[in-house]
């Protein structure tokens, strides 16, 4: 089965409201509209780091699918996040939509390397940065 990087919205990504909005030169952008249930600190109303992690993971996964599609490798099966390292640079302020832009900068036979940035107003003022590695062509069924 081929994976469509633009409609790759599994149940949890839907629950948090993630939606694909743009793709330019292999850089793919996802948005999460502001919602009350994403708040991590009731004192300030800022979005929880876990939401940002989930969004960076989703955007990175889409970027891997996109990179595979662009080299005709989109039939290779599912992918799995191996690791994700996230730096939080500032708060995702209350009431603002959250964006994540991801780019797969290296695709090898088995592994994809991705970086991503989360922001609210402009990407020049990032909320968080991530680098991650994904395993390619993982089995789509569990072993018995």
């Amino acid at each position: 089965m081929a994976f469509d990087p633009f409609s790759f919205t599994p149940p949890f990504a839907q629950a948090l409201g993630f939606e694909f909005i743009d793709e330019t030169d292999g850089k793919l952008t996802v948005r999460a509209p502001w919602a009350e249930h994403l708040v991590g600190d009731p004192d300030s109303g800022v979005i929880h780091g876990g939401v940002i992690t989930a969004m960076l993971d989703n955007a990175c996964g889409r970027a891997v699918h996109l990179a595979r599609m662009q080299v005709g490798r989109d039939e290779e099966g599912a992918i799995a996040t191996l690791d994700l390292r996230i730096d939080y640079m500032g708060p995702a302020e209350s009431g603002k939509d959250l964006y994540a832009q991801a780019y797969c900068y290296k695709l090898t036979r088995n592994v994809a390397f991705v970086r991503a940035t989360a922001y609210t107003d402009t990407i020049e003022q990032p909320v968080a940065n991530a680098v991650g590695a994904f395993m390619l062509g993982t089995p789509s069924e569990r072993k018995a």
């Binding site: 599994p10 009350e36 708040v39 876990g50 993971d57 390292r85 708060p91």
Partner: protein, 153 residues
């Protein structure tokens, strides 16, 4: 009034379930706290909208990332009295096994607790604690209770 201040006033400062329930995102995830003696275990009851891979099926990596961060923060709140919730500086996550469609458990260890920052290691597991499904280490910014107010946000 601030969340932790409010809970202290109500004599609920050590009730980490009350803290979790006051965090909208933790409430959305329905994170449960199992506190026995000096050990704290977080429990995430499985439900269908936590799925990230519908074919396997497997829990979304973002769910596990969220639980790792929440478990670390709650462990820090247990260890010391803080003015505000700790802020995550960075988090490095290793995904070790795919998350089965069942409950997830989490434990955190504070590797080093400084005055302004702490380093925490966290693990998540499902069927067996010695078969972790995800692990993380991260640094967190602390606001100790009674410290001089920080000039930066």
């Amino acid at each position: 009034m601030k969340l932790l201040e409010e809970l202290r006033a109500a004599g609920q400062a050590s009730n980490l379930q009350a803290v979790a329930d006051a965090i909208p995102y933790a409430r959305f995830l329905n994170l449960r706290i199992d506190s026995k003696g000096d050990e704290l275990t977080t429990v995430l009851p499985f439900r269908d909208d936590l799925i990230g891979n519908t074919d396997l099926p497997a829990i979304h990596g973002g769910v596990l990332g969220s639980m790792l961060e929440l478990t670390a923060v709650l462990q820090l709140l247990r260890a010391s009295e803080l003015e505000r919730l700790p802020k995550t500086i960075d988090l490095s996550i290793d995904y070790l096994r795919s998350g089965l469609p069942q409950d997830v458990y989490g434990r955190a260890d504070i590797t080093r607790a400084g005055r302004r920052a702490a380093n925490v290691r966290v693990e998540l597991w499902q069927e067996r604690r010695d078969k972790p499904i995800a692990a993380a280490h991260g640094n967190f910014l602390l606001a100790p209770l009674g410290a001089a107010p920080s000039t930066t946000s």
